[in-house]
């Protein structure tokens, strides 16, 4: 369907490609389907021992003494590891050699000061898991209990406990000029009783001294604003002030974070589960304190193996700190050690999205245009390092709905619950979730169509995002065509037809909803490496993690496209830093498709340059007289040339830059070492993406949903869902569709049932397994689920492709929530997830039921 967009005319287009935009069989497919794929847990090594974890029984405490004597007496028990065996949190170094100091309150993998129930205290290493488990039951812990709190608002009440003795709110001290930021600090903040006066009505307390507290404690990271919000609210025809609560959701990857490690000649070989291959090696080295004389991770001492990863969603960007436990155990025992993480352990150490309690005040003109936004977010951060979700929530709101004036304030509150980490669309999801119900409510109050109110507030082109930077100007994005996506979706979803249908029939009521969503869609500056060999084949080295998105192979098709090499003649090497891989981006935050189509483009251009130079050397003329097509480098317009195979052979004869004996300085050290190792085998294409980009890359999705609610039971089903993506050029349709729908389901899980449950008195979790946490199943998926993508290239990147992993989440979740309020009105829903009990109880009561602000119910 041709996209129409009066506001965006003329729309950019891209050439017809042979490989880009076409489906193909990924190189890992057969192994996955046949079960030959080996995940971390599938590896075995001679004499391998097993480690099991002893988890903290208390939510907050201090281990005064560990008595492992009976355990150590057991035959088959080889070692007990405690925090004394673990390295301290290590400083990191910038590329400029500046030290980034570690957070002294950061995680170390094991602890004597547990800050959540389920935190690993020690590991027992034994000949098998059964022996290790029995040994753990023989260990006695002498624990001093400390006050605990699992609800951020309870911690903020007068007299509320702090989750750690150092305080309850993370703050970020300002960085000295030209220096990296110092570590974050915990401070204490308590609201007054008066601040809580509307708590039971579901209004998030905003303490009267909030501005003063932020000014004195967190001036750099606690608040920002732009525009004149007072004037914005003054000119508003409608002002809504709403509270919404989003859930804590475990990442719940199917593959738990098991790891196996052994040492050979002082070198660590670690088989782990990770989203990124290249990037995990320095992370593991840093966790283990293995740094070179410059303080940089010593990559000559670590080999990371991860050929297949069973899901990450942000929880395994560079694997997990728990992976160093078997590495240290292997060093201590002199034997390989496997640590399989059970499903229950994964619940505790497997990471989760932090919930937000958000209160957002929004002004609208009578036409539905937003005049001002005032946002306050409280994050349930868990006990460890501060997550960026509060700030991201504000930034993404500012981009998605383009308020001309906005104030954002956030508190990152710690609790004695498992550690949080980025989860697909971190913070962006929460910002979208805070705002979408308000937009839908405004559409009802103002009598404006839901799609129309989204469209009128949507970004277009190089739209601004967030507050002004140090230069006094607001940063902006590379491009947005979300209005086109809304138009396309409206048509494909038959929005008007559905809107015209009667809402109620029998005991059922139907509703339709739309939501828009956005997130960062790509980074720049990474490397690519490939060798064109005399057999005429292109051997591509991939440092991208194989986390199930297909980007590990998708991106490299750009190089093949440029060189006109059939995909069947391309071989990809991936999955082990021992196999000479280049420096790649972390596969998180939807960076990879953008970053590595660029890197692959740079590699392709480097190969073409070298091919033309070789042709000119051999056949006369200048390099620019030649072009590459049909697996040949030849004179423009036909004539003499070399096959790629011949050129590869010539590259070896020429040596130097042509076969990798000389490596360009601009590439990362890891890439240099890998290139040197592969030198002399053919024409080496190696390059860093140093192409310009004007703006920050972001991706967009519009979600459309219809729901049907049974008024007698509160049960609802999602009848239809459509996700329309504005993610630039389509690289691999099947993988893209999988991402749009898969990540929409991740969001839909937040809408329909996924959550944590805690008993606040004991500080202990009740929902620890799949059937308690309730991630959605295939039967919860919408009956009819469709995707579409605009295929409009982003103008700031050569192929035009952006990332897709994040924005479907918010669109999926909030299209459902907005459809539910369309069906049920504004007096039912105050938080996600929305379950049958809340709907039924609210309908019975005629007002919102359930506790609006209590955490983990």
């Amino acid at each position: 369907m041709p996209a129409k967009a009066p506001d965006n005319n003329p729309l950019p287009t891209h050439p017809n490609y042979k490989l880009i935009g076409k489906n193909y069989t990924t190189p890992d497919l057969y192994a996955k389907v046949t079960g030959r794929a080996k995940y971390a847990e599938d590896y075995r090594a001679d004499g391998m021992l097993f480690a099991k974890l002893l988890l903290s029984p208390v939510p907050h405490g201090h281990i005064r003494h560990i008595d492992a004597s009976e355990a150590l007496k057991m035959p088959g028990v080889k070692a007990v590891l405690t925090v004394d065996d673990m390295p301290k949190p290590a400083d990191a170094m910038t590329d400029l050699g500046q030290r980034i100091p570690a957070n002294p309150l950061g995680e170390r993998g094991l602890t004597n000061d547990p800050v959540y129930q389920g935190e690993p205290i020690l590991a027992v290493v034994a000949v098998d898991e059964l022996t290790a488990a029995e040994a753990i039951e023989k260990i006695n812990l002498d624990i001093e209990r400390l006050p605990h709190v699992v609800d951020p608002l309870v911690s903020l009440r007068p007299g509320g406990a702090n989750a750690r003795v150092e305080g309850n709110v993370w703050t970020r001290p300002p960085a000295p000029a030209g220096q990296p930021a110092p570590p974050p600090q915990l401070r204490t903040l308590k609201f007054s009783d008066a601040d809580f006066k509307d708590y039971d009505q579901g209004k998030l307390p905003i303490p009267s001294n909030l501005d003063e507290w932020i000014k004195n404690n967190d001036p750099q990271a606690g608040a920002w604003h732009y525009g004149d919000i007072d004037a914005g609210f003054k000119q508003a025809a409608l002002v809504l002030d709403e509270t919404f609560v989003t859930p804590n959701t475990s990442h719940q990857t199917l593959e738990t974070r098991s790891a196996m490690a052994y040492w050979q000649n002082g070198k660590l070989y670690i088989h782990c589960s990770t989203q990124s291959t290249s990037q995990t090696a320095p992370a593991v080295a840093r966790w283990l304190g293995m740094v070179d004389e410059h303080g940089q991770p010593d990559l000559s001492k670590v080999v990371v193996v991860s050929e297949y990863t069973g899901g990450g969603f942000g929880s395994k960007i560079t694997s997990a700190i728990s992976a160093i436990i078997p590495a240290i155990a292997a060093k201590k025992t002199g034997m390989p050690v496997m640590m399989r993480i059970s499903r229950e352990e994964e619940h505790f150490i497997g990471r989760a999205r932090p919930s937000t309690h958000g209160r957002v005040k929004v002004g609208f003109t009578k036409d539905g245009r937003i005049t001002a936004v005032d946002m306050f977010v409280i994050l349930d951060n868990g006990p460890y390092d501060p997550q960026g979700d509060t700030n991201n929530a504000g930034r993404m709101l500012s981009l998605m709905y383009q308020p001309p004036a906005m104030r954002w304030r956030g508190l990152t509150v710690i609790t004695n619950t498992p550690p949080r980490l980025s989860q697909s669309q971190p913070g962006g999801f929460q910002g979208i979730a805070q705002m979408e119900p308000i937009l839908a409510k405004a559409s009802r109050k103002l009598g404006i169509d839901q799609v129309a109110i989204h469209r009128i507030n949507a970004p277009e082109g190089k739209a601004p995002i967030g507050p002004a930077g140090p230069n006094g100007k607001r940063p902006y994005i590379t491009s947005s065509f979300i209005k086109v996506a809304l138009d396309r979706g409206m048509e494909q979803f038959e929005w008007e037809k559905r809107k015209a249908r009667p809402k109620k029939s029998g005991t059922k009521v139907r509703g339709i909803g739309v939501a828009t969503s956005c997130f960062v869609g790509g980074s720049i500056g990474f490397d690519g490496l490939a060798v064109l060999k005399p057999d005429g084949k292109l051997y591509i080295q991939s440092g991208i993690g194989n986390l199930g998105t297909a980007s590990m192979s998708d991106c490299h098709r750009v190089t093949a496209e440029l060189l006109s090499i059939p995909w069947e003649k391309c071989e990809i090497t991936w999955g082990s830093t021992g196999k000479n891989l280049p420096w790649s981006c972390p596969s998180g935050g939807s960076q990879t498709t953008h970053a590595h189509t660029r890197a692959a483009y740079a590699v392709g251009m480097d190969a073409i340059d070298k091919l033309k130079q070789i042709a000119a050397k051999d056949m006369g003329g200048k390099p620019e007289d030649y072009e590459v097509s049909g697996e040949r480098v030849h004179r423009k317009g036909g004539g003499g040339g070399l096959t790629l195979a011949q050129a590869a052979k010539r590259a070896i004869e020429l040596g130097g830059i042509y076969d990798g004996h000389e490596v360009p300085k601009g590439v990362n050290k890891m890439t240099q070492i890998s290139a040197q190792a592969l030198a002399g085998q053919g024409l080496m294409a190696v390059a860093r993406d140093s192409m310009p980009r004007d703006g920050n890359t972001h991706s967009f999705v519009a979600g459309f949903a219809e729901v049907e609610v049974d008024l007698e039971t509160g049960v609802y089903r999602i009848v239809d869902y459509l996700g329309v993506a504005d993610v630039g050029t389509i690289v691999h349709p099947r993988a893209l569709g999988g991402q749009i729908l898969g990540r929409s389901m991740l969001g839909i899980g937040h809408a329909i049932g996924q959550k944590w449950v805690y008993d606040q008195h004991y500080g202990l979790p009740l929902a620890k397994r799949f059937h308690h946490n309730k991630p959605p199943t295939i039967l919860d998926a919408p009956v009819n689920m469709q995707w579409a993508a605009l295929d409009i290239p982003d103008p700031e990147t050569p192929i035009g492709a952006r990332g897709i992993g994040e924005p479907p989440v918010g669109a999926g979740c909030m299209a459902i929530i907005n459809a539910l309020t369309d069906a049920l009105g504004d007096e039912v829903i105050r938080r996600a997830p929305v379950t049958a009990d809340i709907i039924l109880a609210s309908l019975e009561a005629g007002k919102p039921a359930g506790e609006p602000l209590t955490a983990h119910v």
């Binding site: 260990i139 812990l141 008195h761 009740l766 199943t777 039967l779 049958a836 039924l840 109880a841």
Partner: protein
């Protein structure tokens, strides 16, 4: 002693080939023996090392315990028959479809392939405090953690709670009660048969058991009489997820209706008390009444009489009321333009 979960401890495993052998083993090991059907309930307990039997008697090799056969015009279903077999059996579907519907509502396809009818009705409570290893009344302690001011008890009992507020989670149990089924139990002393509704016990009678089965007992079969074959059935389960989830509340009923009048009816609900409840007062009240909204409303109000909500489960009262209503008068299906 430190606690570790999610790894199964060692035990002695017996796999008898006949019912007689199984009964001998259960008699010999008494309280030390654990009866394992499909293993779905068993492995949860064993992997969490909370129940620590010395001996597990795995019934999977006892062929005579599985299968569906004719019995007095009705059916006898071996206790080890999988839920999938129950769901697919032509005669069950034709005469007693409420049972196939109820069995199909349980868990997930994978679990139904492995899980048995005997196991589904004999499974333990799913209260997350109890299953989490908290030393509560049901676990032999002296507290109910699910009934404290901070307890999260959205899935707990509204009726017949007695210290313990756990509920029975079975989807096939109310269907069997509605069909007036009987449970066949064997032990070393012989065989006894109990009515479905009497198979289940509440905390007032026995706070540590869900059924009348005691050490040495073996549920061998479930008998379904012809009495309610082909009558008008209603089954509905309300749950959070559409697969792999226990009921918040479910309802099952069989009714003989002639000329718009309810001649006789059996109705049971589950998920509201520690045992599936047969609603005898409702059955009596609707007998002879016209099948209409008025009768349904009257019966529904009767059904929830005495229901008491905990902090988070008040919704179960209107939910049970509405499900009973629907069992009697049906659901007005939507007709979209």
């Amino acid at each position: 002693m430190a606690i570790i979960r999610d790894i199964m401890p060692a035990f002695e495993l017996f796999q008898p080939a006949t019912t007689d052998d199984a009964v001998v083993m259960l008699s010999k090991y008494g309280k030390d023996a654990w009866v394992m059907g499909g293993g779905l309930d068993t492995f949860d307990w064993l992997k969490d090392r909370i129940k620590r039997p010395a001996v597990v008697v795995d019934l999977s090799q006892v062929k005579e315990l599985s299968g569906i056969r004719p019995w007095n015009g009705g059916l006898e279903i071996g206790a080890m028959t999988t839920l999938t077999e129950v769901v697919r059996h032509p005669e069950v579907r034709q005469k007693f479809s409420i049972l196939s519907t109820g069995a199909e509502a349980a868990a997930s396809p994978q679990i139904r392939n492995q899980g048995t009818l005997g196991g589904n009705i004999s499974q333990d409570a799913r209260c997350w405090y109890y299953r989490g290893g908290w030393k509560c009344y049901r676990a032999g302690g002296n507290t109910c953690y699910a009934d404290t001011p901070t307890a999260i008890n959205r899935e707990h009992a509204i009726l017949q709670a007695d210290r313990c507020v756990a509920v029975n989670p079975s989807d096939s149990a109310p269907a069997l009660i509605a069909l007036d089924a009987q449970m066949v139990i064997r032990n070393s002393k012989g065989e006894r048969v109990v009515n479905a509704e009497d198979y289940f016990v509440g905390p007032d009678l026995d706070i540590t058991h869900m059924t009348v089965l005691r050490p040495g007992d073996l549920l061998t079969a479930i008998r379904i009489p012809a009495t309610w074959a082909g009558t008008q059935f209603y089954f509905e389960k309300v749950r959070d997820r559409q697969v792999w989830d226990f009921p918040l509340v479910n309802v099952a009923s069989s009714a003989v209706i002639s000329g718009g009048t309810i001649q006789r009816m059996r109705i049971a609900v589950n998920g509201v008390a520690a045992r599936p409840l047969r609603l005898k007062e409702v059955e009596a009240a609707v007998a002879g009444k016209p099948r209409n909204a008025e009768t349904a409303n009257m019966a529904a109000e009767l059904a929830i009489r005495g229901a008491e909500p905990l902090r988070y489960n008040g919704y179960k009262i209107p939910l049970m009321r509405n499900l009973v209503k629907r069992a009697i008068r049906g659901v007005e299906e939507a007709k979209w333009a």
